[in-house]
Symmetry: C2
Subunit: 192 residues, 2 copies
């Protein structure tokens, strides 16, 4: 699961109404976005049928993007129990689809993603969008935020993934230099 050059990570921000996805590849010039978007399911359908739609679309994204790893947002307790459950169901499908293809799957909490991409676990949605745009040199701010979150998950895995394989504090020195520089430059531009 070493995320060196050529590593291609699919990030998935799970949801039943909107499921963000983004594919980022590590290149010698730094991380590059290959594709991104939002899967929406028909609100007029029941939950089981919406899950079928989502599973089919996720399989399409996996088939088209051929990632070497998948990063899925770890679902945490949410104030809205009904939404949390739909997100849990959607995340189960994403984990299943990736594991069925034999792909390594990592889960990251929203705070871990923000820490890795913005450098601050409490960052807001707009900050994540701006940093993702800067890090990937995108011509526009990724919209809706679900797309930025998915790309941020992929970026997070490219940075943190190799560290997770290593164990112990010594691993902390092994960062992806290009991403570190880009984060520092973008932070200086954006301010805290």
């Amino acid at each position: 699961m070493f995320a060196g050059d050529g590593a291609r990570v699919l990030g998935v921000d799970p949801g039943l109404s909107r499921c963000g996805y983004g594919v980022v590849e590590q290149t010698p010039e730094g991380p590059r976005a290959l594709s991104a978007g939002v899967i929406r399911t028909s609100a007029s359908l029941g939950v089981p049928e919406r899950l079928v739609e989502l599973a089919e679309e996720l399989d399409l994204v996996l088939a088209e993007s051929q990632p070497s790893a998948v990063a899925v947002e770890r679902v945490l307790f949410q104030a809205n129990a009904k939404t949390a459950m739909a997100v849990g169901q959607a995340s189960g499908l994403a984990l299943l689809a990736a594991a069925r293809r034999g792909l390594p799957v990592a889960e990251y909490s929203p705070n871990e993603v923000k820490q890795a991409v913005v450098g601050y676990g409490g960052a807001g949605k707009a900050q994540v969008q701006a940093m993702v745009r800067a890090l990937l040199a995108l011509p526009e701010t990724p919209e809706p935020p679900d797309v930025a979150d998915a790309l941020a998950l992929a970026l997070c895995h490219l940075t943190v993934g190799p560290l997770r394989v290593q164990i112990g504090p010594a691993a902390g020195s092994e960062r992806v230099p290009g991403l570190d520089r880009a984060i520092a430059a973008a932070l200086a531009r954006e301010g805290p």
Copy 2:
């Protein structure tokens, strides 16, 4: 989705460590249990691989039992957020597996199931186990409780399912008479 004679319902009590299932068929003599059990996944594996195991086992149960409908426990907010998420992910897989086979799927909350089977939404696990045993004339108490819960879901759907198709209070008169009698008899035996 009329659950008359011949209707065969698979009940699923979703979970990643233990997923209960039970198949109940409506016969002229009343509801009859065809099979039941618990799917366990390897605790030594990661969540994605466990979800793959669960999905494969659920597909096997569906293929072997050939139900005409599936009833899945509706996941509600739980105190333990981590457990709730695993249950949400497992329920997503169960809904997906059933919907992919074109089967009608109904979700019932634990309280709806207890209300339908025990006649009291606040019933305890032991009461549900005893009522399921009585209603299905089982030689032993179904263990673990996950099995009883799954059979109770199937019984609930056989009773409540036809009412959900009808709309309005008039539908309340359309009960499955055999099950009603069995409930009354067993309640008289068990006490409140």
